[in-house]
């Protein structure tokens, strides 16, 4: 079946074994990612996001298309620009907002920041900041699938920068040798913080690195959500069939800075605008839906409206959540003991911070 084959009803059939409902669903996850991040920008500017904010603007197709190729029982480990993959896996906007806003009822109870959240039941594991570290961890999670003869698959995202770490190398090599059912996605967005890919590797492509591990390497257009879905689906099928690791390089572009504070002074003039104008994954997909797949514009507008409503409602809810109680900080470092002791000078003190202690006052004390 080709992409434009007609279904019996007269509307074009969806490609790659997808249904037309699923085509619209892909659009919804991409739109939700973008709308939710735009809301986070507002909250960040209102200082309600108490830490840094990381965007995936222009990369939504990578996260959504790949995660959509997994089954419910599969587990993925996102990177900082894979919010979309977590939404696909069942993370909700209110959970993301509470996490960013450091609320007591956030998924990490205010212990971790941004999208460092996870839920094994829903199939996503929270990342840590040390790039590459999730590759060995996902090697272990998929090793457990293999050891228990479970037909489950793991997917781990890294960026172009993380491929330079030892953990990436050790993890993918370990998984390849053990034939773990693992898909490794290198999201090549051109920059690691300010460092361009040319200063990250001398390799011609990240997909080429697969040869060294004895696994297939594939390069695909990450801003084409359907193509991303297709190549990931193939890799997932290989993994589930016992054929081990696949390395996928998704070509995309990071249109925002490393984090919201980053002014991107290192980006050549016009580059961002060029990508925004000609290669935006949402624009491209919306166009494909309305032209190739004959969805009426109203169908997409309805999704947009529904997403907006969902994010509004989630914001209202998240704003009402309380901040964590200070002494909660001592709970749950170990299974046993369950609580760490309070230091002697904090005994009976409710909060460590006096009202007049302000971070912006640091270094300015003059007696």
């Amino acid at each position: 079946m080709t992409a434009t084959a007609k279904a019996s009803s007269g509307t074009p059939a969806a490609p790659h074994g997808l249904t037309r409902e699923q085509l619209l669903e892909l659009y919804k996850w991409m739109r939700l990612t973008r709308t939710l991040e735009e809301r986070l920008v507002n909250l960040y500017r209102q200082t309600k996001v108490v830490g840094g904010l990381f965007r995936s603007l222009g990369q939504e197709g990578c996260a959504v298309g790949s995660a959509f190729a997994l089954e419910r029982r599969d587990i993925l480990s996102p990177l900082i620009r894979n919010l979309g993959s977590m939404l696909v896996k069942g993370a909700t906007p209110v959970e993301v907002l509470r996490q960013y806003m450091a609320k007591a009822d956030s998924m990490t109870r205010g212990r971790e920041l941004n999208i460092h959240i996870g839920d094994l039941e829903r199939g996503f594991v929270g990342q840590i900041s040390h790039l590459g570290d999730m590759v060995p961890v996902m090697a272990g999670i998929t090793l457990s699938f293999k050891m228990r003869n479970e037909a489950r698959v793991g997917l781990v995202y890294v960026g172009d920068g993380a491929t330079s770490t030892g953990a990436f190398h050790e993890g993918i090599n370990f998984a390849a040798v053990q034939r773990c059912p693992l898909v490794v996605i290198v999201e090549n967005n051109g920059y690691a913080y300010s460092t361009p890919t040319s200063k990250q590797t001398a390799a011609r492509s990240f997909a080429d690195k697969a040869i060294g591990y004895g696994v297939p390497g594939v390069r695909a257009d990450g801003n084409d959500v359907l193509e991303t879905y297709r190549v990931t689906k193939e890799a997932v099928a290989r993994a589930r069939g016992g054929e081990g690791v696949t390395l996928i390089e998704l070509m995309t572009y990071r249109r925002k800075g490393h984090a919201e504070h980053d002014n991107q002074s290192y980006v050549p003039p016009g580059e961002i605008e060029q990508w925004a104008a000609t290669n935006d994954p949402l624009d491209r997909y919306a166009k494909a839906l309305t032209t190739v797949y004959a969805f009426p514009a109203s169908a997409l507008e309805a999704v947009d409206a529904q997403v907006q409503q969902e994010v509004d409602a989630a914001t209202d809810l998240a704003e009402q959540s309380p901040a964590p109680g200070a002494s909660e900080a001592l709970v749950g470092v170990y299974g046993d003991p369950p609580v760490m002791p309070t230091l002697w000078y904090r005994e009976g003190v409710g909060s460590a911070v006096e009202k007049n202690e302000r971070a912006q006052g640091w270094g300015t004390f003059n007696g």
Binding site: E112, G126, H130, D133, P136, A139, G140, T142, S144, F174
Partner: protein, 325 residues
């Protein structure tokens, strides 16, 4: 009952736990077909198969990282570092990923990282280390370092059953030099409890691992030569540390020497001294003093290694100083 060596005791513990719990598995370099560089895992692959005794690439970060992932899924991995010196290659994975997993993500990570540690064996700078202090500073990890064959077995079993990551340091000097009978039945030594290795009234030596035996030797000599009654505390667990046992011995003898094989600066003896200062300063009749290795990388030549590492005569000398204070 037959005596088993410290090394065999660890192996017995591994066998028993793998037999008891199908979720327990081992991974590391050369541990399967070859049975491990020191043969600690000898026979494990024959008994439990390649699936549960995994020979890995030379990738300490991947060994520990993969163990963490498997542990999240309900397995109980036991990682071998071929020499504990190589645990530094997995330092990031242990301190940043594993140690924080429960706290930040509510992911239990029941796993053990074990390996041959310590000097007195002419192993040079990279096959003799005692890196325990590097991990004492990491909330989320547990650390044990047995000195006896019984504790080696009882603590490896406790470590495997613990719901958090336990670093299990094995002293390679003790592997085949000490032996003991094993208690019958399911012998588990609780983590976090010290052991009184020798009762005494006049002075306490707080120590762990191989220097427990040097402290006992010194105590014997001090008793014979000056009639001093020396108590020796074998900490066994370093994290959590048995403050009660430390305070009890301070209150009993009022004079304390802290001994370890690791280098002095930044070593665990400093932490023990600080705890004594905070918990029972007024019970002291003399300053707490430390005996450890000189602050240099551990050299190879016997003349150099013996000079750098703490010896029985050093302990005797330091104990005399404290008792005369």
């Amino acid at each position: 009952m037959a005596e088993v060596t410290y090394l065999e005791a660890i192996r017995e513990g591994l066998f028993e736990e793998m037999e008891r719990d199908p979720n327990v598995f081992c991974l590391g370099e050369d541990i399967g077909a070859y049975g491990g560089a020191f043969k600690v895992t000898d026979g494990l692959m024959q008994k439990f198969g390649e699936r549960r005794v995994i020979d890995t690439p030379i990738s300490e970060a991947a060994i520990v990282g993969a163990a963490a992932g498997a542990a999240h899924m309900g397995l109980r991995p036991v990682c071998e570092m071929q020499f504990i010196d190589f645990i530094s290659c997995a330092y990031d994975m242990l301190t940043n990923y594993v140690a924080t997993a429960r706290y930040r993500a509510f992911l239990p990570t029941p796993m053990v990282v074990r390996g041959p540690s310590g000097g007195y064996v002419r192993g040079g700078p990279f096959h003799s280390q005692n890196p325990e202090a590097a991990f004492l500073h990491t909330p989320g990890l547990k650390i044990v370092y047995p000195a006896t064959a019984r504790d080696a077995k009882g603590l490896i079993k406790a470590a495997i059953r613990d719901d958090d990551c336990v670093l299990f340091f094995e002293h390679k000097y003790l592997y085949r030099r000490i032996k003991d009978t094993m208690p019958a039945g399911d012998h588990v030594v609780p983590i976090g409890k010290a052991r009184v290795a020798r009762e005494g009234r006049d002075l306490s030596i707080i120590t762990y691992a191989a220097t427990v035996w040097k402290a006992l030797e010194a105590a014997e000599q001090l008793e014979k030569e000056e009639g001093l009654s020396v108590e020796v505390i074998d900490l066994r667990s370093l994290l959590p540390m048995d403050d009660e046992a430390i305070v009890a011995t301070v209150k009993k003898t009022n004079r304390v020497l802290v001994v370890h094989e690791d280098t002095v600066t930044g070593g665990i003896a400093g932490e023990i001294t600080a705890r004594i200062n905070e918990l029972c300063f007024e019970w002291l009749d003399a300053p707490v003093r430390r005996v450890g290795a000189h602050d240099v990388p551990l050299p190879y030549a016997p003349q150099l290694e013996d000079f750098v590492l703490p010896q029985t005569s050093d302990i005797v000398r330091a104990a005399r100083w404290i008792s005369a204070y």
